[in-house]
């Protein structure tokens, strides 16, 4: 009789790698194998995505970050103890004992205890206001402390330190400092020149960087008040995050007498076996090939190796690639392969553009055939391409500098990925190759990122491979003869531009008509607002009349921006940022009467938050009676035209920038476009209105005005480029007319002008040729189309205020005038704010 024995496996640590091990073990288990899994976790919650921990500050909840819910463990028969660390291992009897006294027997023990933040012994580290950055609890503490803090610092200018510093800035601290012991930032990943460029980029984001600083003492009473450095300088701060490196959690292994390294880490061989053959160590606690791999992809690979071994497979953990791309710090940084290798062992190509803050370096083999490594700062768009080219030893083109120079548009990149061999590893976190992805697309019919994620997990780890996965989907579909067009959605088999032409030629004015004539099905949240925007750009008729109200995005439908909690914000237009005291008083009175939070916006106007849906018409009635108009803050349309005070008051001003800004804003107000439009006018070359960061910006010169276009602030800042020099006002407006209409007609949905230009073949010189030199002969038509839109402009809010039928729609309930009882606010600095997401 064959005796089926159960293999008892105990996992210590329920972090990312410990979880991945369980998942892989279940997947690889043989039908004949009986396995029992017990997991001990020290943290109070099941494993979550630590790599994207910072997104917790951006609104993700602990639940969103969870890798698999508690039911997953239950459903798979895994016994899990949380908040209960293992405190003792009895290797002789193969028992572990937990803090709460639970004793479990093992056949194999997996140590996945990860690492903790390394905290140097500086006097004063125990003070309140000093944190580390590792767990959700750490972030909760930081978040609540940051509410009352003004100046924060981070010790450590590495990968994690910079991410933490950016997080402090995003949490609203007035100052965020980075204190680094070395002479430059990220010394382990990038070279000297890259560090310098990164530093200047981070400084322009508002971070203060201090190099070669040795923190001697943390000063203060119970709470931190400042940092004293060895060079006698002092930095006043009221909170500090320590991110000076990681320390493998090997304390338990040491107690158990396993072999550990003097500088930390449980020593393992290339099977991840420790000095005890029944105990394995994986993830950040393991020291393999003489190093700690502080990244998730090698951790997952370790989990895979051990899972394979325990289920009868054979696999080896090989030295792993340490390429990284930094996320979330507002500027791109990446390094891959061997970034530091020097001539003559390679040929190095460098590219530096100080104005744009870009530094790139690639190291090519001396024979020019393969890529050995490189560094990207400021623009890492080619990271995935280069990484794969490097890893797969793809033969390079003769002019290898093309790899980092020259604009490689989306299509070229697609062709690039398709030239990789089938076994090229695309998602290193989940070990998915190009061949597997092509199969997903061709044979399993997974044509979207979402379905690919579900079916083979590619892209669910660090997420860095997603752009390439997209390229592979498109590339494979193309190879299969599927003609891929940027069609709107399942209801319209046309691109935005095609649909715009069709709607225009046929004079269609309602969504129902457009859907009946050119679409199928019942529409959706993608095509409805898109058609709404086309109709508005073509005819500029009220967006709430006929069948158009329910096809607007929620913000457009209620002519206000929906905010956290379900209330709305109100933004009256203040052209050029000029406002009379009388009008200001009315805004104050309205805010008082309806209990609104008030804030000055970045676009020189005033935003009133927290309005109940049902109050909106009355609020606007009061504002309109005082002479205000809708500010269209809710629409994909012209927002503001900022201005500096110009020659009327400023001693440097050479033209009256305010008057021109008001004229420009009044001309284009209400204009609907593929995305929002921002503008500014500066009174002289000093550029106080920041016109070069706008979709169109105007700067006064001695002789007239310079016009810049296609700039962008936001998450991917881009400077505007010069379109015309020293033109008079009329010419300037005519050029803007043409530019805007050309954009409206040809841009993809939700593409800002900067993105539109970046994708345009021929780029700026082509745009100039069309707008200024009229090579297409369409200038007159563009101008008259725009003039038509200006002629029919009406204030949308005035229409609603004057129309009882439309007013009726502004009520939370259809059967009672009551307000939404679930809306809740919190107090903050004598005003209110929306309650946090539950």
């Amino acid at each position: 009789m064959k005796h089926i024995s159960v293999i008892r496996i105990v996992v210590i640590g329920n972090g990312m790698v410990g979880f991945k091990f369980c998942e892989k073990l279940l997947a690889k288990r043989q039908a004949s194998q009986q396995i029992s899994i017990t997991v001990f976790g020290e943290e109070p919650r099941v494993a979550y995505d630590r790599v994207h921990l910072s997104e917790y500050f951006a609104g993700k909840t602990a639940d969103d970050l969870t890798l698999a819910g508690e039911d997953w463990y239950a459903d798979n028969g895994i016994k899990i103890y949380l908040s209960d660390p293992v405190v003792d291992i009895d290797r002789e009897h193969k028992l572990v004992r937990s803090h709460h006294g639970i004793v479990v027997q093992y056949d194999y023990l997996i140590m996945a205890t990860g690492s903790g933040a390394f905290v140097p012994t500086i006097p004063g580290v125990e003070k309140d206001g000093v944190f580390v950055y590792r767990t959700i609890e750490d972030l909760e503490l930081i978040q609540s402390y940051a509410r009352k803090a003004k100046k924060g610092a981070v010790i450590g200018g590495g990968l994690l330190g910079l991410e933490a510093a950016k997080a402090l800035l995003d949490l609203g601290l007035e100052e965020a400092h980075v204190v680094e012991f070395a002479t430059r930032l990220m010394p382990r990943q990038i070279d000297e020149a890259g560090s310098r460029m990164l530093q200047s980029q981070l400084e322009s984001l508002g971070l203060h960087i201090h190099l070669s600083k040795n923190t001697q003492e943390i000063k203060g009473g119970d709470c931190i008040e400042g940092m004293q450095f060895a060079d006698q300088s002092f930095l006043e701060v009221d909170m500090l995050v320590i991110s000076a490196g990681i320390r493998p959690r090997d304390e338990l292994a040491k107690i158990a007498g396993l072999e550990t390294h003097p500088r930390g880490g449980i020593i393992v061989d290339n099977q991840l076996q420790t000095s005890d053959p029944n105990i394995f160590a994986i993830g950040e606690c393991a020291l393999a090939h003489h190093m700690i791999y502080g990244l998730i992809a090698p951790g997952y690979e370790m989990a895979d190796v051990v899972a394979a071994k325990l289920t009868g497979g054979a696999k080896e953990f090989l030295p792993f690639d340490m390429s990284t791309k930094l996320k979330l710090i507002g500027t791109d940084v990446a390094s891959f392969g061997d970034p530091f290798i020097e001539e003559p062992a390679c040929t190095t190509v460098r590219y530096e553009n100080k104005a744009k803050g870009i530094y790139k370096r690639i190291n090519v083999s001396p024979d020019g055939k393969t890529l050995l490594g490189g560094i990207l700062v400021g623009d890492a768009e080619q990271y995935n391409m280069l990484l794969q080219t490097c890893k797969n030893k793809t033969i390079l083109p003769p002019d290898s500098e093309d790899l980092i120079l020259g604009s490689r548009g989306g299509e070229e990149a697609g062709a690039g990925v398709m030239s990789f061999p089938d076994d090229a590893l695309i998602c290193s976190c989940e070990a998915v190759t190009k061949g597997m992805l092509c199969q997903e697309v061709s044979e399993k019919g997974n044509h979207t990122i979402d379905s690919i994620k579900k079916s083979c997990k590619a892209g669910t780890g660090c997420g860095g491979c997603i752009p390439m996965v997209k390229d592979i989907i498109t590339g494979t579909l193309k190879q299969n003869g599927v003609y891929v067009r940027n069609v709107v959605c399942e209801h319209f088999d046309y691109s935005r531009q095609e649909l715009l032409d069709l709607v225009k030629m046929n004079g269609l004015k309602t969504y129902g008509n457009v859907l009946d004539t050119f679409g199928k099905g019942d529409g959706c949240e993608t095509c409805k607002p898109l058609v709404a925007s086309l109709l508005a750009s073509l005819w500029n008729e009220s967006i709430l009349q006929k069948d158009r109200a329910p096809i607007q995005d929620s913000n457009d439908r209620y002519l206000a921006n929906i905010q956290k909690g379900g209330t709305y914000s109100v933004v009256p237009r203040i052209p050029g940022g000029e406002v009379t005291p009388e009008k200001l008083i009315v805004i104050g009175q309205v805010a008082q009467r309806y209990g609104l939070y008030t804030k000055i916006t970045g676009g020189q106007r005033i935003d009133l938050f927290g309005a109940h849906l049902g109050d909106l018409p009355e609020i606007w009635e009061a504002l309109i009676n005082a002479g205000f108009e809708s500010g269209h803050a809710y629409g994909k349309s012209l927002r503001t035209v900022k201005s500096c005070v110009g020659s009327t008051w400023c001693r440097f001003g050479v033209q009256d920038s305010v008057s021109f800004a008001i004229e420009v804003e009044n001309r284009y107000k209400g204009l609907r476009s593929p995305h929002k439009l921002k503008s500014a006018v500066s009174g002289c070359i000093r550029e106080c209105a920041e016109a070069q960061s706008k979709d169109f910006g105007i700067i006064a010169t001695e002789k007239g005005w310079n016009l810049y276009v296609c700039g962008n602030g936001g998450s991917k800042p881009q400077h505007a480029q010069l379109l015309a020099t020293d033109v008079d006002k009329e010419t300037c407006l005519r050029l803007i007319d043409r530019f805007l209409m050309f954009y409206i007609k040809t841009a993809d949905p939700l593409a800002r002008t900067a993105t539109w230009l970046n994708k345009m073949e021929g780029g700026m010189s082509y745009l100039k040729a069309v707008v200024v030199d009229d090579v297409l002969g369409i200038a007159a038509e563009l101008e008259s189309d725009l003039q038509q839109l200006i002629d029919v402009y009406q204030c949308e809010w005035k229409e609603v205020v004057d129309n009882p039928e439309l007013r009726k729609r502004f009520s939370h309930f259809v059967n009672t005038p009551a307000k939404d009882p679930s809306i809740q606010f919190e107090e903050m600095r004598e005003q209110k704010r929306a309650k946090e997401w539950a």
């Binding site: 019942d522 959706c524 949240e525 409805k528 069948d547 329910p550 309930f813 259809v814 059967n815 939404d820």
Partner: protein, 119 residues
């Protein structure tokens, strides 16, 4: 408007008057307060169908489903929450983007210009 019933009528439900037909925009939604609950009601005029669901979106507990856009996904009627665009089947309430989320659906009956919801 003709007398019509949508969604399978359960004999156990109690019918509540929610509003008049004209209170809900065609191909749009509105929210009614019934029995202490917020119910989202949709007039899917294009399909000649009515639907009712929870007004609260399970993703971030926002009372906003009634303000969402309706449409179809491979023929199945759906609504998209305006906050983060999670979409839900109007027939089953199942979320299309994330299996973990689901909203309740309720039967709707339209008689003599009045909209009734079965709870």
């Amino acid at each position: 408007m003709n007398t019509e019933t949508q969604t399978p009528t359960d004999t156990q439900v109690t019918w509540h008057i929610a509003c008049e037909v004209s209170d809900i925009p065609e191909d749009g939604g509105g929210c009614a307060f019934i029995d202490g609950k917020q119910i989202a009601i949709f007039n899917f005029a294009r399909r000649g169908e009515w639907y009712a669901t929870d007004n609260e979106c399970p993703h971030r507990q926002q009372m906003a489903v009634s303000r969402g856009m309706i449409g179809s996904h491979e023929g199945e009627p759906k609504v998209a929450c305006p906050f983060h665009k999670k979409t839900f089947s109007l027939k089953t309430g199942q979320c299309f983007n994330d299996d973990a989320y689901q909203i309740k659906t309720f039967p709707v009956m339209v008689r003599e210009n009045l909209v009734y919801i079965g709870l």
